[in-house]
Structures are given as C-alpha cells and as structure tokens.
Amino acid sequence: MSDITVSPAPAGSPPVNPFQGRRPGRRWISRAFAGLSILATLMALAVLFVVLWYIGGRGIEYMTTAFFTNLPLQTPEGMRNCIIGTVILVMLSSVLGVPLGMLCGIYLAEYARKGWFTYAARLVIDLLAGTPTILLGVIAWQLVVVPMHHQSGWSGALALAFIMVPIIARATEEMLRLVPHAHREASAGLGASHAQTLFRVILPAAKAGISTGIMLAIARVAGETAPLLFTALGNDQAVYDPNQPYPSLTLKIWQYSQSAEASWRHQAWTGVLALVSLVLIFTAAVRFTVREKK
C-alpha cells in the first residue's frame, strides 16, 4: 500500500498547490458560458413544453371517437374529412415540392458555376423562403383558382409546394456540400460519371440530412393555414377530389377557434392535438427509416 511516501509540507508554511491557475477568471467565464447556454436551452424547452402541455390537456379533454369518425355537420360532430384532407393535401404538395426542391438543391451544389445566374437563383430561393406564406397563396390563387373559377385542392397543394421548394432546395444544397471532397475524388478517379457519383456516393452520404430537411418542410406546411384560406378553402363534406374545395385541419381549426359556439372551440383544441400528433408520428417514422445503420 505504501510504497509511495508523501513528504509532509514543511511545518509552519501553508501547503501550496503548484497547479493553482494564475488566472482563475478564465475558469469562471468558461463556467458562466456553459451555464448560460444550458439556461437558454431550458427556456426554449420550457416554452415548447408549456404549449404541448396546454394543447395535450385541452385536446384530450374534448376528444371523442366521433371526432375521428364523423364529419363536421354530423351529430356528434367530428373532423374525419379534415384529417384525411390535410394528409392528402400535404402528400400532393410533397409530390410537387420535394422533387423540385431537391433538383434545385442538386443543381446549386453540383452543377451551378459561379456567375450571375447562380447568384440570382440563390437570392430568389432565399427570398422565396422568407416570403410571407399568404403571398404564396395569392400566387397559387392567381395561377389555379382564377382559371378554374373556383377554389380547389390543387391550388392549395400548389401553394404549399411553393413553401416547400426553397426549404428543401437549401437543405439539399447544404447537405451535398457537406459530403467530403475525397468521396467525389475517389469516385471520379475510378471512372464514375458525375451522375453516377451523385446517385451512388453523394446522395446516399447526404441521405440523412436531406430527409431531415424534407421532414422539416413537410411539418412546416402541415401547419400552414394562411395560404389555404383562398385556395383550398375548406370543405365540410368527405370530398377528396382535388378539383373541389378541399377539407383541411388547419382551416377547420382556424374557423372553429373564432366561433362563439363552445363545442366548436373545443373541437378546435382537439384538432390542434390531432395535427401535432400527425406531425410527431410522421417525424418519428422518417427518423426511424433513415437512421444510420450500424
């Protein structure tokens, strides 16, 4: 046990630690910074938690089976068509927006040369991402509703697709840029064409990041209301033909939340809970599918 002998400090002098820092302030600044960032994270989480708690509580309080099985004008009333409508609407907009956004991102990351066109393209995409979504609804209205002379699912899907494209384009571009140059070199050095390198090496390597971007875009449009106001319009019937005015959960929530009728306001709460759950389930499912395999 005691091969090592510790020489006692000479009597009379206080023990001195030779490793005592000369600038203890550094350590305090470091700790303070760590504390600050933890605090900020907790505050952000607290806001989210309060919102979820509130929605969960109110939503469950008024939840009935009829909510999921009945239509708005039936008794007891429900939002079945709105839930299905939102799912289809988001799917339609994804069919338009995801390939378009990804192709834009691929162009910007892989093919674009420095020049005014690329510069302009990036600028426009950034502007589009920052445009109030109600304006994108106006564009979809002008492009689809005006020629058709009535509101429709197509116009709603188009408005949502407009929102998705810039988000997905920028996410794709950033993720492709993160793929190490060594992978491109290795692939090119083996005689792969640019497209082969892209599809077999770069896109698989960026898969997780790109799908996160797509997921964010989908979650974002699932909650959009403003661009649907004068495009999808909403529908109280179980109508899922995109040529007709289209039912949407967000529109229904918006409509009911302003109602004087207490039972409608309660329905709105449950609608919000349903919407949040939809997004949550979808996000979890995507994460699970594209998780890094060991």
Partner: protein, 284 residues
C-alpha cells in the same frame, strides 16, 4: 532526361485498344508504346496564373514502378493527376502538351475520361473509402462500369482483396462498414478498389504518408507484387521508400524535371548537383 530504355519482359500484355484508334498509327508509335506506358511531351500545367509544371518531357516504362520525388510544391502530384485527368476537376487548371498512355493522347477531344480513369487506377494520400460496406467499396468500380451478375462481382471483389493482401483480414465481415477498418487496412481497401476494374496503370499519390511503419511495409510489399502485372507511378516524400519500391525515379524541383533514371543511379551517382543535394538530405 529520358530514362534509359531498360530490358523489359512485360512488353506486350497490356496494349490498349484505343492506342490504335487514336494514335497516329505510325510504326514508331506502336513500338514505343509497347515499352512506354506513359509518354509525356511538352507538358505545361497552370493553376490560374501560377505555372506549376514547366515543359516536362518524360517516358514512363511499362511494367515498372516509377517514383516521383522532390520537395513539397515541386509539381509531382500535379503531374500524376494529369495522367488520369483528375486536374479536370480543378477549376482554373490548364494543361498543355501531350500525354500518351499506351500510345493514345489522353488530352485528345475523343478521349473518354471515364474509360481513361477506369484504366488508370488512383490511390490517394489519405485513405478515402466510401461510407459503404467493404464489399460495396470494391464492387463500386465494377458496378459503375456496367458489370452485372453477382457471381462475377463477388469473384472480382475477392480477387482484388486478395491482391491487396486484405482478404484474410476482412473475408468474414465483408458487409461491415469500410470505415470500421484501421488506416492501413482502409488504404489497402482503396488499393483493392483501384485495381478491381483491372487498370493498366496505377497512380499512387503518397499512399503511405498517413500510415504507420508496419502498414507502410505491407503497402510497399503490395506495390512490389502488383508491379509484376501493372505499371505503377508513385509520388513519395519518403526517399527511402523510393529506393525500396521503385525501378525508376524522377526528381522534380520547382515544377521542372531535374533528373530521371534508374533508382540506383539517381540515388548514388546522379548527374546533377541538385539531385545529389536532395537525395543526401541537404534540402527539401
């Protein structure tokens, strides 16, 4: 400055089909092509305004290992990257002059760069396996060049991994990620990948600079074994390595070829004072 033509027993096996298609067709080209895997004439490389390689004339003998040595920034890697046109990927890089591989000018408009790169494998300074399984890494060049059929691919993957001396270490875990291998194993995997499509020429850009001495030894033995069947050009910072692996050595300084010749001669009785100074460690 041209290395003396050495007696060469592996002359005829690797004649390129494109040599007769794109070459001038004269008899002299045909016979020269048989001895020289790579013929470089009047090569100049510019990066933007920088002049990286000056008027290079050099022939690289078929079936031998040629080492490029010289201090950092002397242009040796740049030259190597001209042989499979990797410099095409660098914006602002201009290559002038002629490089013939097996008699065909690779900077000719008709050259298919993808085919050129299939026939000139490249191993990079840092091991760069794809984030895929070990098997898929080696199968990659086969698949992109249109080889289908699981049995064929499996056989070629095994053959390449055996040539790279990696088979016994990985045969039981071909489906695990290549990134789980050690640095030396990764580099040998990259060599296996580079030779899977059966190139005639293997270009190695400081392949051992990121490896420990034991892994380096393994790779050098591998170079030795591979040189029996293919022409190898290796860029190296390590002069001892050049002595150990190369039949021919070329010394570059400031973008110019100073001297080229049999490795023994270049290290022991060089013609130029500068070469002597470099190989004896007086600068560099």
């Amino acid at each position: 400055m041209t290395p003396p033509v050495t007696a060469d027993n592996h002359v005829s096996g690797h004649r390129s089909a494109s040599a007769s298609a794109a070459g001038s067709g004269s008899m002299s080209v045909e016979t020269r092509a048989a001895r020289h895997a790579i013929e470089i004439q009047g090569l100049n490389v510019h990066y933007g305004k920088g002049h990286a390689v000056h008027d290079l004339n050099l022939n690289i003998t078929h079936g031998e290992v040629t080492a490029f040595i010289g201090p950092s920034g002397c242009g040796k890697s740049t030259i190597l990257r001209c042989f499979n046109r990797m410099n095409d990927l660098v914006s602002g890089c201009q290559v002038r002059g002629s490089i013939k591989i097996h008699g065909a000018n690779i900077y000719d408009r008709r050259t298919n760069v993808m085919e050129l790169r299939r026939r000139t494998g490249m191993v990079f300074q840092k091991p760069n396996p794809f984030p895929k399984s070990i098997f898929d890494n080696v199968a990659y060049p086969l698949r992109i060049h249109g080889i289908r059929g699981k049995a064929v691919i499996k056989e070629r993957v095994e053959k390449s991994l055996r040539s790279a001396g990696l088979w016994d270490e990985v045969k039981d875990r071909l489906n695990t990620s290549a990134l789980s291998l050690s640095g030396g194993q990764q580099q040998r995997l990259c060599i296996a990948r580079a030779i899977a499509a059966e190139p005639d020429v293997l270009l190695m850009d400081e392949p051992c600079s990121a490896l420990d001495p034991i892994a380096t030894k393994t790779v050098e033995k591998l170079i030795n074994d591979l040189s029996k069947t293919i022409t190898i050009v290796i860029v190296t910072h390590n002069m001892h390595q050049a002595v150990r692996v190369a039949h021919q050595t070329a010394f570059f300084y400031m973008g110019r070829l100073v001297e080229a010749g049999p490795t023994d001669k270049l290290f022991h009785k060089p013609d130029h004072q500068q070469t002597l100074a470099y190989v004896t460690g007086q600068f560099g």
